[in-house]
């Protein structure tokens, strides 16, 4: 009898099947919740022409910014591609070497949730009357205009959590939760790096944030790097 066991030994093995041209959702809001070791493993794997979904575009020359700098990303879907500490995305964007789909932050979150919930499209008041509604279907409900937005799915999600069991049940840490739970729902294969692993049953069922059905692989990174510290130290990857 095969037990359900989603544990993977290494970040390298966890991301090994991410293929060229894949859509990859990457958790995190700034450095909070950024699965930096999984991203670095993806850099090592060399998969290219990726479409990456993240709220930002990373900072410095590590993590998501390094993945972009390594020319592995053909397109970013995000809400806020500028950061104080990164020139990587702006330089490539100005050079016409990377595509940008700019999405309001709440619409981005809702598109991901919809994708994970089997909802192909929905209507929202956000962006009506702005350039970000150009070309999109408008519809009036009860006297107010709404714009149609499409659900968003991915081939893979890379997320970070605090604790996990072998079923893939996850608990997060403070505001590092951000996009993790919804990206886990929206991806075909969800890979979570966790600060620690616990026995099945050790997490109170009332406290589980992401139920294991949404998670495919867990890999322990007991002492994850802190993006801001790496940036402050002038580090780059690889």
């Amino acid at each position: 009898m095969t037990m359900i066991d989603k544990r993977i030994d290494s970040v390298t093995a966890a991301v090994a099947d991410i293929f060229d041209g894949a859509t990859v959702m990457v958790g995190g809001f700034g450095e909070a919740g950024s699965p930096i070791e999984l991203i670095h493993a993806l850099i090592d794997s060399g998969a290219k022409n990726l479409t990456v979904v993240n709220n930002n575009t990373g900072s410095g020359h590590v993590g998501l910014a390094a993945l972009i700098e390594n020319k592995q990303v053909g397109k970013m879907i995000c809400s806020f591609p500028r950061t104080a500490n990164s020139t990587v995305f702006p330089d490539l964007y100005r050079a016409g070497e990377i595509e940008l789909e700019l999405v309001p932050q709440g619409t981005l979150a809702e598109r991901i949730r919809a994708g994970g919930a089997g909802v192909p499209a929905f209507y929202t008041a956000t962006s009506v009357g702005t350039p970000l509604a150009d070309g999109k279907e408008l519809r009036n409900f009860q006297g107010r205009d709404y714009v149609m937005e499409l659900g968003l799915k991915a081939d893979f999600a890379l997320i970070k959590c605090e604790r996990a069991d072998r079923y893939g049940n996850l608990v997060y840490n403070k505001t590092a939760r951000n996009f993790g739970p919804i990206m886990a729902m929206a991806a075909n294969i969800t890979i979570a790096q966790t600060g620690s692993q616990v026995e099945v049953g050790a997490i109170d069922p009332e406290s589980i944030v992401t139920p294991g059905i949404f998670v495919d692989r867990i890999v322990t990174v007991a002492d994850p790097a802190q993006e801001s510290k790496l940036v402050a130290a002038g580090r780059s990857y690889p």
Partner: protein, 224 residues
């Protein structure tokens, strides 16, 4: 000791935040934008309990941590370290924006590049061709939060009016702003246009009108 008369003229950034804070009622759920709006929290009058939302996923945001106590996984929407109050809650991004888009947040205070007399707001892009477009949660906030207040300097650094007949910059939202706090005045957006409801110390109506790109209507509080 100076013998010059110390005549107050206008409001500084702190005083703008202080004035806006007077309009935050007890029990409100409030989202504060980056910059001067952030300062509003420190001036809400004693005796009012206000819950601060930060859209990256926290309700019950507290003050900045003591130096050395920062937690990189406990930050606000400006990606600065924060603390939590007792009774705070964490949640994921879709829940956080459901609070915004589902009209559960009472008040949002944010900055502006331009506000039009019909309440249109432009605060995310100048439309310059070489700019990297970035919107964040601004469009969600103005479309979903019940009441939108703006805090802004009355004019740009070049002296151009920020309160105008119609915005020349790309919009963040249509007819969304209720009230504007500037260094010169408090101005309401009404069906008739901009109504000047309060002048900063030492500032006259004509002075404000000369620096506004649309007609100002004197409010009843100013009459007589």
């Amino acid at each position: 000791m100076s013998t010059q008369t110390d005549t107050a003229f206008g409001w500084n950034r702190e005083q703008m935040a202080q004035r806006a804070a007077l309009d935050i009622p007890n029990g409100a759920y409030v989202n504060l934008g980056i910059g001067i709006p952030e300062k509003v929290a420190q001036y809400v009058p004693e005796g009012r309990e206000v819950i601060y939302h930060t859209e990256n996923g926290l309700l019950g945001m507290g003050v900045a941590p003591e130096p050395g106590q920062e937690d990189p996984e406990l930050i606000n929407a400006g990606k600065k370290p924060v603390t939590v109050i007792p009774g705070a809650a964490f949640f994921h991004h879709a829940d956080s924006f459901a609070m915004i888009r589902g009209q559960h947040i009472d008040i949002c205070v944010l900055g502006a590049m331009q506000v039009a007399k019909n309440g249109d707001l432009a605060n995310w892009s100048t439309g310059a061709p070489d700019a990297i477009p970035a919107v964040g949660g601004a469009m969600d906030l103005v479309a979903g939060v019940k009441t939108i207040y703006v805090i802004t300097q009355h004019c740009t650094k070049n002296g151009e009016p920020k309160l105008v007949d119609s915005c020349s910059y790309p919009l963040t939202g249509q007819s969304v702003v209720s009230r504007i706090y500037t260094d010169l005045a408090v101005i309401d957006v009404t069906e008739d246009g901009f109504v000047l409801v309060e002048l900063a110390p030492g500032v006259g109506f004509d002075y404000v009108q000369a620096r506004t790109g649309a007609t100002l209507i004197p409010g009843q509080q100013l009459a007589g």
